[in-house]
Amino acid sequence: MNKHTAPDLTSTKITGGVAVNLRHDSAHKHVTGEAVYIDDMPEPAGTLHAYLGLSTVPHGAITSMDLSEVETAPGVVAVLMAGDVPGENDVSPTGARDDPIFAEGEVQFLGQPIFAVVAETREAARRACRLAKITYDEKPFVIDILDADRNNPRLVTKPMKLERGEAEKAIAAAPRRLKGQMRVGGQDHFYLEGQIALALPGEDMDVTVHSSTQHPSEVQHMVAHALGIPSHAVTIEVRRMGGGFGGKETQANLFAAVAAIAAKRTGRPVKLRPDRDDDMIATGKRHDFLIDYDVGFDEKGNILGVEFTYAARCGFSADLSGAVTDRALFHCDNAYFYPAIRAVSVPLYTNTVSNTAFRGFGGPQGVVGAERIIDEVAFALGKDPLEIRKRNFYGETDRNVTPYHQRVEDNIIHRLVAELEESAGYAARRREIAEFNAQSAVVKRGIALTPVKFGISFTATQYNQAGALVHVYTDGSVHLNHGGTEMGQGLYVKVAQVVAEEFQIDIDRVKITATTTAKVPNTSATAASSGSDLNGMAAQNAARQIKNRLIDFAVTHYDVPREQVVFLPNRVRVGNQEIPFADLVRQAYMARVQLSAAGFYKTPKIHWDREKGRGHPFYYFAYGAACSEVSIDTLTGEYVVERADILHDTGRSLNPVIDIGQIEGGFIQGMGWLTTEELVWDEKGMLRTHAPSTYKIPLASDRPKIFNVKLATWAENAEPTVHRSKAVGEPPFMLGISVLHALSDAVASVADHKIFPCLDAPATPERVLMAVERLKREASR
């Protein structure tokens, strides 16, 4: 609310401190349509519109490019190609120099940008794009993981290996052994607001870009590289995104770079917004994986040794695939202790769009592998998968070393799962389901309870730093800025709560402001669930600096001992008197006290040696568990999620209602990934699912019919994070895995749980029916 009201000087508690339910700061603007996204900003007079021309073959040398009709089309002002990039024609985020803005000489996937048209209107630019005549000398291409050469694969980046103990020996010596393979599909982010950038040329070399990005600093660097100018000439600003989910971490770079190049070339503002189809065709997605596993175990179900190979479709360039496939390996254990483990990644080059960050960043694919082997071991032994899960959980004091040699020191999975098992009525429902299935020929039910343990921190240690900028004005109102970006997750309100708490002022005294590279430099992406951990601490640090100066001032000015300066709600007690916060600030100003501070934070404890596969890459772990029940129709493979129960750990939550929103949304998004969201490429390398008509994310009617979500309110972070809270962005995504396993359980019932369904993901109705049919066939043999 924007109403300007005088702060309450008698209250015992401020409004909007930490650990309270507080609505999203923009909620009112969301529901009225007044929240401004980049495409809603008033366009400066003379604004031009750019549109991208994309390749039409998956791999080939460009033999000719005739853009004459494009150039002379109505409204066209400029056409840009690789040669028009003043600086470097590259937006690769890791310096691999394999990610051209415009393809030069060769195209490597169908949909790769080759040129851009700049025109008076977006429609004119879009129409002109279609007039290009480009010919190719087509080359052989690899689309699918299965098409890649497994013996001598082309990789986009260096693979990783995690090893602890001697897995091969342990597996060979184990009483039981099984091998298998699983496909797990990719996922489009389907942020509702597509990629967009609006570039405003300035004087000298300057350019300001409004970019829908999770990583303003990287966009700044990329725009600077592309223009061949210093970073100081480039300012990136983003107030909010209409969803990100990782899809605007590196993928915003190209759009901002093109808009900036066009703006500097024409001297006019330029906006670039692809339509939904181009957005889905030309930007990266979640990596799909082929997971090979070999596991040794005993008759009780104790896992003794595991070998994993995680092969990923990375697309034509490295992008973040190295870190993504690394994180898949970091999560191949999920919550389980492997006495001996060897896991390797295979980041495959394919002639598809370069895959990228997506909520969980490879972690979910890692966890899917872990849960798959647990399920299959349980099957082999005829035991309830939950029993095998619990049996293999990390210990609290022993059996607690991960495949990357970090000790799990904050394990709460035992209690969490026990509580959920109880509250969800797992055992009774499993019995009821068995009875139901015995009576029901067509409809079958299934249930599964799966855990999540997710490592928090960027595995690239340098990203675990953040900055904030806090100003206190002389009326006691506060301007807050930090490096984190708002994409709907509620980061801005959480950080504002931290600052309000620090100063003990009502949250409406804290102004949330757009993220900009001009206020806080060298920021990390708002990614890896790190937003509130990093930026909350940085903002707290900035506020504390100012607070300490105010205390110093009060001590001197009022001649009181330090401990007699106490911040109360909207006021400060100094000795025996209470002074309104604004008054003390005003007095401090008069005494020439600096009322602005840049805050900083870096995560302690963490280190990682990728070559050795050893270290302490994660500051802490976040935990959760979900129990899902489904019904399937064995005639068509269609299904309904009957119920889901979730218990999740967000430490001492900064804002429980915001965290629950992340958990509910994450679960549904994870469920969508593993059920109806299917990416399909045709034999010509064309992505056929490039719009919501063909790519099906969950609807309201796909929600569990009964959906119980609770926070583990007893949990608190063992590490001194911001108010002992935990990160919440990514971990709940993996709760959706319970739906895949419930589907598998229902399928298994058609063969009396004697044959393992080997259900791949996404488990579309088609995959479910095909698995049902296979089990029926094999059972009747």
Partner: protein, 492 residues
């Protein structure tokens, strides 16, 4: 010859608009965002699937005005002649306070990134006016056409459940001002033809059905635009020129449903939503199918006539209508002919429609009491998805327990909606038993050679198609319950 007007007239929120420079392919969304600078309505997909652009369109229906959610992205501006367009900007009260639907969404934390939110508010607004005390099923149906990627919908559903405690639709401005709005809209309906632009920018809104017949006879290559749920995409996705375009959405004569002598006649301009209330009473299986076509926005726009005329192999209404033995009336000028619906579909992209001809009505014989009729749609996602396989069955069993008649038709199995004639033959005259069903299944291979695409593989289509016959038998015989999953209490 009727009088001709050269502008379209409509109400936009509280303003009366007269526009004489409308292009046939100009969408309502672009008009709102680019020309009116009403930025609350968002573009998410430009194909009518995500609902971020949802606005309400009020149209005269008899003596009242009916407000329906539509997708502004694929709705053409010209189709709004005589309508009231209500956007998100119209909801906030003059004193700055929130509308009850908005307040509920805030209180229940129904927004995260906020981009889908205006569209969701508009869909809930339409729901609240129609059904102030909605069931969960009502809410889910109202949200079938709205995608949210952040919340997982749970808080939005909570807000929707609570709507009635936030306000009474009877005191909503759209209710209080209804008489004024109706009067204004009636005044715009002057019974004239509307013509704007020429050549590649020509659009026509016929004055009445005879006028349409005359115009089309004179301009046989014109694009007929009814609900624009398909033609809209020709423009937004393929940038196709649709001029001259004839907008027929306003023709009341095409929007009638009547029933006589055991046959329901559905005018070609009847929307899915209009048809639903009638069909769900008279042919419940068909009513339930319509509930799964698109989202509310698409059902409010899209027409049964368009679903047929378009000739798509995956249109949802032709197979059940064919199974029921429906016939189609086509009109050119003053001439009419009526053909079996199945004969209309000649080949992929080719229908039995002559130049200058248009689909006027479809006639659906009600099944006899002894006829067993069922239709099932199978798709990757339950709601708002395009069919992978759709099977429709109308079958009678004689007194001797043998199959007396069978009409079975499928969508998604061939290049057109198509009858399973070999399967029918394999059933007719045989005892109505599972054995007969099993023995008839190989006939599917003679009837159909489905394709593999992004929606389903050929193998899955064939298997699911066969299993729908099994399901039909199981449901009719009552030997195995339940025969399919259901999200809701009653069987679908």
């Amino acid at each position: 010859m009727t009088a001709i007007r050269h502008e379209i007239r409509f109400l936009l929120n509280g303003l009366k608009m007269d526009l004489d420079d409308v292009r046939p392919d100009q969408t309502l969304l672009d008009y709102l965002r680019l020309e009116r600078r009403l930025k609350g309505t968002k573009e998410g997909c430009a194909e009518g699937d995500c609902g971020a652009c949802t606005v309400l369109v009020g149209r005269l229906a008899g003596d009242t005005v009916l407000y329906e959610g539509v997708n502004a992205c694929i709705r053409f501006l010209a189709s709004l002649d005589g309508c009231h367009v209500v956007t998100i900007e119209h909801l906030k009260r003059p004193d700055g306070s929130l509308h009850p639907v908005q307040q509920a969404m805030v209180d229940f934390h129904g927004s995260q990134c906020g981009f889908c939110t205006p569209g969701i508010v508009m869909s809930l607004y339409a729901l609240w006016m129609r059904t102030p005390h909605p069931s969960d099923r009502d809410v889910e149906k109202a949200l079938q056409g709205n995608l949210c990627r952040c919340t997982g919908y749970e808080p939005i559903v909570r807000a929707a459940r609570a709507l009635s405690s936030y306000g009474n639709p009877a005191t909503d401005p759209l209710s209080l001002e209804r008489e004024t709005i109706i009067a204004a809209l009636k005044a715009m309906r002057d019974g004239t033809r509307v013509e704007i632009g020429g050549g590649r920018e020509r659009l026509v809104i016929p004055a009445n059905l005879d006028d349409l017949a005359a115009i089309l006879e004179a301009e046989p290559n014109a694009t007929i635009v009814a609900g624009s749920t398909d033609v809209g995409l020709w423009v937004t996705k393929f940038m196709r020129n649709i001029a001259p375009a004839i907008f027929i959405g306003n023709l009341e004569e095409l929007r009638t449903i009547s029933e006589a002598n055991g046959t329901i006649t559905i005018g070609a301009g009847v929307s899915y939503s209009d048809a639903f209330s009638h069909l769900s009473r008279r042919l419940p299986a068909l009513g339930q199918l319509i509930d799964r076509i698109g989202g509310d926005q698409v059902r409010n726009m899209g027409t049964i006539g368009g679903n047929i005329a378009n000739g798509s192999p995956i249109g949802d209404t032709p197979p059940p209508l064919i199974a029921l033995g429906a016939t189609l009336t086509l009109r050119r000028g003053q001439g009419r002919r009526t053909i079996p619906l199945e004969d209309f579909f000649i080949a992929y992209g080719k229908q039995d429609r002559q130049p200058g001809e248009f689909v006027e009505a479809v006639h659906v014989p009600l099944p006899t009491p002894e006829t067993r009729f069922a239709v099932w749609k199978v798709s990757k996602r339950r709601d708002e998805d395009i069919t992978a396989v759709l099977g429709a069955f109308a079958l009678t069993v004689g007194p001797d327990g043998t199959v007396a008649s069978a009409r079975i038709a499928y969508g998604g199995m061939a290049a057109t909606p198509k009858r399973a004639l070999a399967v029918e033959t394999a059933l007719i005259g045989k005892p109505w038993t599972m054995d007969t069903v099993e023995q008839a299944l190989p006939a599917y291979e003679r009837d159909f050679t489905p394709i593999s695409d992004m929606r389903a593989s050929a193998a899955y289509r064939m298997m699911a198609a066969k299993n729908l016959l099994r399901r039909f038998f199981l449901e009719m015989s009552g030997t195995s319950k339940p025969v399919t999953i259901s999200r809701y209490e009653e069987a679908v």
